[in-house]
Structure formats: structure tokens, C-alpha cells
Symmetry: C2
Subunit: 254 residues, 2 copies
């Protein structure tokens, strides 16, 4: 028997399958207009590629902001719960999770049993989220996934405004005054690190720190944040799937 976890974020929908011992498959798709359709298509796709029939699936546990619109979910859990469970599963020594998604950012602290002991979330302000980087990538005419590579060798330009709207004007001015895309990109990643630091430093960050969410793939941002916090920040190729992984395990344990 298998369990499925589905994490419907504002930008991407992630799925994971658990066989009671291991995560045997993960997949990701843009959330698009209809969270329900994207989730349903993604589940069918991952079942097919894993050669698992629907009859073998014990439960579908949904998490993420789009979980509310999923009629076929067996159970729904918050992102905090699923992330904590997912992090504890992939590495039980994780104590702090920093998650930056498409439209929010959060920090979750867990104990050695994977229980949530503290958390803080920003979902009110686009600054310090994927949305900030998405807006800025458009101005820089680059892809959000290329920001770190673009910026890797550059001296970060100073961006004074944290606000996405005001920073947008600053970036336009910086371009007009001849500053390089590379240094602006570095400045923007630095700005997200600064904003994330402001959130994260409100809790007592403890080792081991794990960076998750779509934005965690920006290695330069991880570096900047790590320098500010003066602590190592870990990540993995599974970092986007923390919520989905947690969800399918929660479904299994029911």
C-alpha cells in the first residue's frame, strides 16, 4: 500500500509517494489557474510513471494554500505540520526550517521528535518571497532560476527599499545609471536574504538549519542568508518537496 502527499503552493504543486519506508517518487508542476486540475493531473502522472494503480493508494493528504480546493483529499494538513514532518523524515537532526515559497516565507522550529515548537510566517508582504524575485527577474529580463548564476561573481548593488514596489523603481534607476545586471541580481538576492533574516532572527535559530521552498534553489541567496545568520544552512534536491513528503507520511501514520 502507498500513500500520496500533495502540496499545492501558489506557484507550484508538488507530489510525493510513500511506501511505508521510503519516498519512492516525487514530481512537480505549475499550479496554474486550477489547483484541483493541476493536482489531479500530477497525481495521475506520478502514479503512471511509478506503475502504481489507484487501488494501491491508501490515502491522499493535501497541504499548501490550495488544499482547500481539493475534494478528493483524504485529509488536509497545514503547511507547518507537513513541513515539520517532512524535514524530520529526511534528516532527524533538523531543528530549524526556513521555507521561502512563491508568495510566502516562514520559519519553523522542531524538536528531536519532529514536533513544531515555534513558527513564524509572512504571507502578507511580497518582499522576501518568490514573488519579489519574479517581479525583479522580469525587469532584469532574466529567468528567476538563473539569478544565482548571473549574480555569482558580482559585488551586490545596494537596494535600499525592502518594498517590492519601491525596489522596482530602484532597480529601474540602477539599470538606467548603467549598473550591471549581475550586480543588481546579486543585490536583489541580498535583499531577500535581508528580509528573510528579519523574519528568521525573531526565533532562536538552532542547528541544523534546512532551507526549503522553490526559492531555496538560489544557492547565492542561501550563501547570503547563511552569512547573515552566521550558521550553516543545508538544502537538498528534495527541498521543494518537504511539504508533500510530510503529507504522505502523515497519511501513512493515520
Amino acid at each position: 500500500m502507498y500513500t500520496i502527499g500533495i502540496d499545492i503552493g501558489s506557484v507550484a504543486t508538488k507530489v510525493a509517494i510513500f511506501d511505508g519506508k521510503d519516498i519512492i517518487a516525487t514530481d512537480i508542476t505549475p499550479t496554474g489557474w486550477s489547483p484541483k486540475d493541476s493536482a489531479s493531473l500530477l497525481i495521475n502522472k506520478v502514479l503512471e510513471s511509478s506503475k502504481i494503480s489507484k487501488e494501491e493508494v491508501k490515502s491522499i493528504t493535501a497541504t499548501g494554500y490550495g488544499r482547500v480546493s481539493l475534494p478528493f483529499a483524504t485529509k488536509k494538513v497545514t503547511e507547518i505540520t507537513s513541513h515539520a514532518k517532512g524535514a524530520h523524515f529526511i534528516d532527524s537532526s533538523i531543528r530549524t526550517i526556513i521555507d521561502i515559497g512563491g508568495q510566502d516565507s516562514k520559519v519553523i522550529k522542531i524538536d528531536n521528535n519532529g514536533n513544531v515548537v515555534d513558527f513564524l510566517m509572512n504571507d502578507k508582504c511580497a518582499a522576501g518571497t518568490g514573488r519579489f524575485l519574479q517581479v525583479m527577474s522580469q525587469i532584469l529580463e532574466t529567468d528567476i532560476s538563473d539569478l544565482s548564476t548571473l549574480a555569482s561573481e558580482a559585488e551586490p548593488e545596494n537596494i535600499n527599499s525592502m518594498c517590492t514596489v519601491f525596489a522596482e523603481s530602484e532597480v529601474v534607476s540602477l539599470i538606467a545609471s548603467g549598473k550591471s545586471k549581475e550586480s543588481i541580481a546579486a543585490g536583489l538576492l541580498n535583499s531577500v536574504a535581508k528580509k528573510t533574516y528579519a523574519l528568521v532572527s525573531k526565533v532562536k535559530v538552532e542547528d541544523k538549519v534546512f532551507f526549503s521552498g522553490g526559492v531555496s534553489k538560489n544557492y547565492l541567496l542561501r550563501k547570503f542568508l547563511s552569512e547573515r545568520l552566521n550558521i550553516d544552512i543545508n538544502s537538498s534536491d528534495k527541498s521543494q518537496f518537504l511539504g508533500a513528503i510530510g503529507a504522505c507520511i502523515i497519511g501513512y501514520e493515520m
Copy 2:
């Protein structure tokens, strides 16, 4: 002898001339790229139209964010000081000034001598400022100065996000789902009223309340804010010139 007050805001530069008794002239121009040039041109223009020679001008007092870049200013004062002085001059019974400019919003409390007793300012977040309405007007393909007229008869659409960036997406969705421009415009003015209320209600708002800054010309916003605060809010055709008026009077009193 005359004194000049110049208030260089992020969007508009305002000028006022004082003859020791009355404000004898005011004028306004977009700030544009160069605050220094705009201010200098505006001063020449208002002097010419008032038939006053430069020799008759005792002092030029600058205020507003652009005051730093004005080499020819005799004196520089903060926006808080100039607004307090200007409000007290136009109506000595004013106790609370709510000012919403192009890129910031503030509330200033003054006593019966026009001294500042308390103030709060937001210049970090575009929400609740003229910038928010400017961004939204573009999406609605309307002019910011027409928002109140457009919205005057409509039932305000609910805009959930305060953040300019997230609200932008909401507005795009509302348009796509066929909601009227009128009701969206009303919803946007309501959103600025909500955000302003959040700032203003941190101080004890006292009668008489005066609404100033470029955004104060939106009468529907004034109405929404007045309803939330449950207090009358006054304004006048001089409401944009409060800072400039205060500045020229301060210059005179020196």
C-alpha cells in the same frame, strides 16, 4: 518682504509665498527627475505670476524628501514640522493631520500652539500611499484623479491583500471575472482607507482632523476613512500645500 516655502515630494513639488500675514500664492509641479530643477523653475514661475522680484524674497525654506538636494535653500525643515506649522496656520483648531503623499503616509498630532505632540509615518510600504493607487489606476486604465468619481456610486469590491503586489493580482482576477471598474475602484479606495486606519488608529485621533497630501483629493477615500474612524475629516483646496505653507511661515518667523 516675502518668504517662500517649497515642499519637494516624491511626486509633486509645491510652493507657497507668505507676506507676513497671508499666503499670497501657491503653485504645484511634478517633481520629475531633478528635484532641484523642478523647484527652481517652480519658484521662478510663482514669483513671476505674483510679480515679486527675487530681491524681495527674504528666505526660501525647503521641506519634503527632496529638500536635501536644494543648494539654494536658506533653511531646511522636516515634513513633520512644516505640516504642523501649515495646519496650525490655516486652522488653529486642527489637532490631527493625516497626510497621504505619493510614497508615504503619516499622522501628526499637534497642540493648540501648533507644536507636534506625536507622529507616526509609513515610508517603507507602498500600500496605503499614492503609489498604491497609481499602480492600480494603471491596471484599471483610468487616471488616479478620476478614481473617486468613477467609484462614487459603486459597492466596493473586497480586496483581501493589503500588499500592492498581491492586490495587483487580485485586481487582475476581479477584472477577468467581470467585476466592474467602478466597484474595483471603490474597493481600492477602501483598501487605502483600511491601511491608513491601521496607521492612524495607533495614535489617539482628536478633533479637528485635517486630511492633506495629494491623495486627500480623493473624496471617497476621505469618506471611507471618516467612517472607519467615526470622526469628521476636513480638507480644503489648500490641502496639498500644507508643507509649503508651513515652510514659508517658518522662514518668516526666523
